[in-house]
């Protein structure tokens, strides 16, 4: 007999024994238990006297029903001593008179509840003295005054966001990122390039207006791929006028003194940038075989004008572009004007010139040019909304005045 067979026989025998045991003795254990005996509570009928005595001893809240039934009787006399023989009879009488008297009865009620009255005694004097305590409520009101304490905190936060015109500053930096990306093409330093993204975020956050936030979001998307591009910036920054950068940087710094992150992030990125720019410049110089250093000097300047900034400029100018008095021919003429700008955003009127025109005759071109020039002069009198730190980008602006949408249709 194999061992397996032995085990099989053994198990079989054990199972059979178990079954027999369950048949013989299992009945005692597995029969359903009989239902627990129902507990029957003895209910005794309470007599009216007992009920009245119980009600008399009950707390004052109960009395109201009794007064209703007893209302016709004198309130002073304790109801306990005169148990009404028939409870149903009083109900109809109680309905008509009731409420006014019931309101007066509370006075006697305290008598029936000495304990409560005793506790309430201190309160009445308190009520008398409440007249002065009226001062207390004002004291409680002050609690709302606590809000002012809270308000000051948010105000300063919001003020810097909305009030500061510097709002435009953040977008510029966001744009800086995109440009930097192309320059970072040199992959040599991959890891150091990524940290450069942080400085970008740090610059954007300062004036976190809603618009700026959107731009920041855009920059966040770009950085991942363009992180290394930031490296060329360092080389470009030294060239542009130092005061401009310092002004822009200073403004946000003053507004948000409590924000340490931006300050920390800026220095951090700068270091890797320098390394990257140097290495990149060297690499480019070597690759181009000579003038590497001069090329990256990026004489032109820093970040480009963002689409949002362009749109803001367009919106500003088109408000003054009045085509109502233009002739039909002029409305079919597109003119391109060029204007030189001052760093403060004001156009140099004398520099406005006609660069080109299409679709019209000489006279129509003149009219279209005058309308465009008038728009620049009118809306430029207050300065155009352009980021000062990008002045090199908009020193000269060319504008196409295309009246296609303004034609008579």
């Amino acid at each position: 007999m194999n061992r397996a067979d032995k085990i099989g026989y053994g198990l079989s025998g054990a199972l059979h024994v178990g079954v027999l045991f369950w048949v013989i003795a299992g009945g005692q254990w597995f029969f359903p238990k009989p239902n627990e005996p129902v507990v029957i509570s003895q209910v005794a009928v309470m007599s009216e006297q007992d009920f009245n005595t119980m009600m008399a001893s009950a707390p004052k809240d109960a009395p109201q029903p009794t007064p209703d039934s007893v209302a016709p009787t004198a309130p002073d006399t304790p109801a306990e001593t005169t148990p009404p023989p028939e409870t149903p009879a009083p109900e109809p009488q109680a309905k008509p008179e009731p409420e006014p008297q019931a309101m007066q009865q509370p006075d006697p009620a305290p008598d029936a509840q000495p304990d409560v009255s005793a506790l309430q005694e201190p309160t009445p004097p308190a009520e008398v003295s409440d007249t002065p305590p009226e001062i207390v409520p004002p004291v409680e009101e002050p609690s709302p005054t606590v809000t002012p304490d809270i308000s000051p905190a948010p105000k300063p936060k919001q003020a810097p966001r909305v009030a500061p015109t510097p709002a435009p500053e953040p977008p510029p930096e966001a744009k800086v990122d995109p440009q930097a990306q192309p320059q970072e093409a040199p992959k040599p330093a991959d890891t150091p390039d990524q940290p450069v993204e942080k400085p970008k975020e740090a610059t954007a956050p300062p004036e976190a207006s809603t618009e700026i936030v959107t731009e920041a979001n855009k920059t966040e998307d770009k950085p991942e791929s363009s992180a290394p591009l930031a490296s060329p910036r360092p080389s470009a920054k030294p060239k542009p006028p130092a005061p401009k950068e310092t002004q822009t940087a200073a403004a946000p710094a003053e507004k948000k003194p409590a924000e340490p992150k931006p300050a920390e992030t800026k220095p951090a990125p700068s270091e890797p940038k320098k390394v990257d720019s140097a290495s990149v410049n060297d690499a480019l110089a070597a690759a181009l075989g000579g003038e590497g250093t001069g090329g990256t000097g990026s004489a032109p300047t820093g970040p480009p004008i963002t689409a949002g900034e362009k749109d803001a400029l367009i919106v500003d100018i088109k408000q003054c572009w009045n085509t109502g008095a233009l002739s039909s021919d002029a409305l079919r003429t597109t003119v391109t004007l060029s204007v030189d700008m001052q760093p403060d955003g004001h156009p140099i009127i004398s520099s406005i010139k006609l660069v080109g025109a299409t679709g019209g005759t000489g006279n129509a071109v003149d009219q279209a040019f005058e309308a465009g020039r008038r728009a620049i002069v009118l809306c430029g009198s207050d300065g155009f909304p352009l980021p000062p730190e990008k002045y090199d980008r908009w020193k000269t602006i060319t504008i196409d005045f295309n009246p296609e949408k303004m034609r008579m249709k």
Binding site: N322, G324, W394, I397, P403
Partner: protein, 440 residues
């Protein structure tokens, strides 16, 4: 693989250079929409150079202001807002003072009397550019023509600012109406474009319709019922004398219009129940039949160069607009919209055709390109009809009749943009306007 790596490396290295080149370009933007609003202007006053010119100077200033603001393209700044007091014609202009009140154009002038004539001098300034627009001008006329002087000044200002041709110094011939609808009396009248200086050319003894100016403005063609049937008559505006044009017995002639050169007349003639277009040489009286369709052809109008004629015909079953050579021949239909088109008139500039459209119980004045494209309706009312172009092709005048037994006809004008719809002031009811060319 090696080549690919090298190419990639080269591209990476050159990318910054390309970006730098692109960055160096000036900021460039395109503006495709602006605002349409009246241009604010100021008339510093036409200073009277002599005492007797004082009243006339005030009147001339008022007419100029009315002309410019009446276009809907200009808005006069109240004199109470003026900062600089211009005391003489040669007073230097303080542009800053006029910029402060947002005056974009400034007119400075003077009125004097020399040799029994009124002399008007004026200059126009572009305030925001701080320079004069064009040269100053001096005009002279008899005192009786002071309104024409004012209109001339307005025309110069209007043209210099807008680039459009002038039209203020023009006249309008129309049918003046009086009496109830069932017994309406009509007579020809002529007035300044703004309703002033109304002069009656005919009496109310017979019904007259559809007057049309000649290209030089000296003659008027119109339809008269003095013989009991519609006949064409030509009237000399200067003398108010008129004569019937030659006729073919048993026919009715109507809807005449001069050719651009003034030597011919195109008109409709009903003969044996059929109405066709005909051409007549004014001097010789020779006629030429232009259409032979059994349909009704009428309301012909020459193109400015005289080479084509636009007219209405129901040859397709409904009234539509057609264009054909001035010598007749095949006609091309140009209107295809819903409703019926009638009374086409070619723009003096030749680029558009004005018409009357009836659709869904409403009448409209509209314009379209000469090929029928870009149709746009400028008005809508119970009854609008009979458009006529201003000399510069920028404004259309037409007849609007109000409904009901008490309704009457009035003249209205509208810019071809559809803006500035306004009623033209006339002594009474008026209809069938025809704009003259610009007066010499």
């Amino acid at each position: 693989m090696m080549r690919f790596v090298l190419s990639l490396l080269a591209a990476v290295m050159l990318a910054p250079i390309a970006a730098t080149a692109q960055d160096s370009e000036p900021l460039h933007i395109e503006i495709t929409d602006g605002v349409i609003e009246p241009m604010p202007f100021a008339i510093a006053g036409f200073i009277p150079e002599t005492q007797e010119a004082g009243q006339m100077a005030s009147q001339i200033t008022q007419v100029i202001s009315s002309d410019l603001t009446g276009t809907g393209l200009f808005r006069e700044i109240p004199k109470s807002a003026y900062i600089q007091n211009v005391s003489s014609f040669d007073t230097p202009v303080k542009y800053s003072d006029w910029q402060a009140i947002n005056a974009q154009a400034l007119v400075v002038g003077s009125v004097g009397m020399q040799g029994g004539k009124v002399v008007v001098k004026f200059r126009l300034f572009d305030v925001f550019s701080g320079q004069q627009m064009g040269d100053g001008q001096q005009l002279a006329a008899s005192p009786a023509s002071w309104r024409r002087l004012a209109h001339k000044v307005s025309d110069v200002i209007y043209s210099r600012i807008t680039g459009e041709g002038p039209y203020f110094d023009s006249r309008v011939v129309f049918v003046s109406e009086s009496g109830p609808k069932d017994n309406r009396q009509k007579r020809l009248a002529v007035m300044d474009y703004d309703g002033a200086n109304v002069t009656y050319l005919t009496d109310a003894s017979t019904i007259v319709l559809a007057p049309r100016f000649s290209r030089d403005g000296t003659k008027v063609l119109f339809t008269t019922f003095e013989t009991g049937f519609p006949r064409i008559k030509m009237l000399d505006v200067a003398t108010a004398s008129a004569r019937l044009l030659p006729e073919v017995p048993g026919t009715m002639t109507f809807a005449p219009r001069f050719s651009p050169d003034g030597t011919k007349i195109v008109y409709s003639m009903e003969q044996n129940g059929n109405t066709d277009l005909w051409m007549m040489n004014i001097s010789s009286g020779q006629t030429q039949r232009l259409t032979t369709s059994p349909a009704i052809e009428t309301s012909p109008s020459f193109s400015p160069d005289g080479s084509r004629i636009v007219f209405e015909s129901d040859r397709s079953g409904t009234q539509q607009l057609y264009i054909m050579p001035a010598s007749g021949g095949d006609a091309t239909r140009i209107s295809f919209g819903d409703g019926r088109y009638s009374t086409p008139v070619w723009s003096p500039r030749g680029d558009m055709i004005a018409f009357t459209k009836q659709n869904q119980g409403r009448f409209h004045i509209g314009v379209m390109r000469t090929d029928g494209s870009e149709e746009r309706l400028l008005t809508s009312s119970f009854l609008d009809e009979g458009p006529t172009w201003s000399p510069n092709g920028r404004v259309i005048m037409f007849t609007r009749e109000s409904p009901g037994a008490e309704g009457s006809a009035s003249l209205y004008s509208v810019d071809i943009s559809g803006r500035n719809l306004k009623k033209v002031s006339t002594p009474g009811a008026a209809s069938d306007p025809a704009w003259s060319p610009l007066l010499p």
